[in-house]
């Protein structure tokens, strides 16, 4: 039973789907951000696996930069969340509907 690239890609896809579900169902902004991390992590597995099977470093590089991006996003996301929380006292996204239509 050989573990092929497909295995990893399927895993990546499933994790990505889990992330998507999280993104869709979360109302707590903080936990919503968690879900976006899952998305990026899912792709990272894929990249690493592809790199492995193509015997190519590029995939690993991509994953590396994805991690960097994820980290930066967390910083900005939390910053935004903090001002929002300071202003409203909540991190529930359902109250965020002052603009619509």
């Amino acid at each position: 039973m050989e573990i092929t690239l497909a295995h990893y890609l399927v895993l990546s896809g499933v994790l990505f789907a889990i992330g998507l579900i999280g993104v869709m169902r979360r109302k707590n902004l903080l936990m919503l951000f968690f879900a976006t991390e899952i998305l990026l992590n899912a792709t990272n597995i894929g990249f690493a696996a592809i790199a492995h099977f193509h015997n190519d470093l590029t995939g690993q590089m991509f994953a590396f930069f994805v991690i960097a991006i994820a980290a930066s996003e967390v910083a900005v996301g939390l910053g935004l969340l903090i001002v929002w929380y300071k202003r409203t006292g909540k991190i529930d996204l359902d109250i965020m509907t002052s603009m619509r239509g």
């Binding site: 707590n28 903080l30 991390e37 690493a48 790199a51 190519d56 980290a71 967390v74 939390l78 300071k86």
Partner: protein, 195 residues
């Protein structure tokens, strides 16, 4: 065989952890589960020979990101469970499942790769970190530097947004109020953000 066992084990663990992250109503559980999931992911990296990536994964994600989130959680006082209103949970899962199925459907088909050649082949003789170093500082030098800028931007943004100066909004204050505020303050607080 070992590889297979390890793969399935970690796959199950990762999926389980992330499922908890997504499904639990306790922020703390979610955070913990995610941190665990990230570590399990790094296991894949090691399995795939991407040692450097595995280390970075653990340090950056489990170390930095999780710490940041934990800090955030404390700030937001999320220990009290947030009652999340759910509309159409079925739709959501349906969409998720469809997405997963579709992706999987494609992914299981073999990649017909007749002519893929590695641009930066992994040299078994070279350690992973070294190899990465080579590539990173030649080919990927520019993205690397830009990533640095990005982190700087993120830092500045984070600091500025979370800073105290945001507490009073000049945007919403009348001009007279701003003038009054500036007069009463001994020292303008302008540098604060940059520090």
């Amino acid at each position: 065989m070992f590889e297979a066992i390890a793969f399935y084990l970690f796959a199950a663990l990762t999926i389980g952890m992330f499922t908890i992250t997504v499904m639990t109503s306790q922020a703390l559980y979610a955070l913990t589960a995610m941190a665990a999931g990230m570590i399990f992911i790094s296991a894949f990296f090691f399995m795939l020979g991407a040692d450097f990536l595995g280390v970075v994964q653990i340090i950056v994600y489990t170390g930095a990101v999780m710490a940041l989130y934990a800090f955030g959680m404390m700030f937001f006082d999320t220990t009290r469970t947030l009652v999340e209103k759910r509309e159409n949970p079925r739709t959501i899962f349906l969409l998720g499942v469809i997405a997963a199925t579709l992706v999987v459907f494609i992914m299981v088909s073999p990649i017909i790769s007749s002519n893929i050649e590695a641009h930066y082949p992994i040299d078994a003789a070279l350690g992973n970190s070294q190899a990465i170093g080579y590539v990173l500082f030649t080919k990927f030098l520019v993205p690397f530097e830009v990533a640095a800028v990005m982190l700087l931007v993120a830092m500045i943004a984070g600091i500025v947004l979370a800073g105290k100066k945001m507490d009073k909004s000049l945007t919403l204050m009348a001009e007279e109020e701003i003038a009054f505020m500036n007069a009463t303050q001994d020292k303008p607080q302008d540098e604060e953000g940059a520090h």
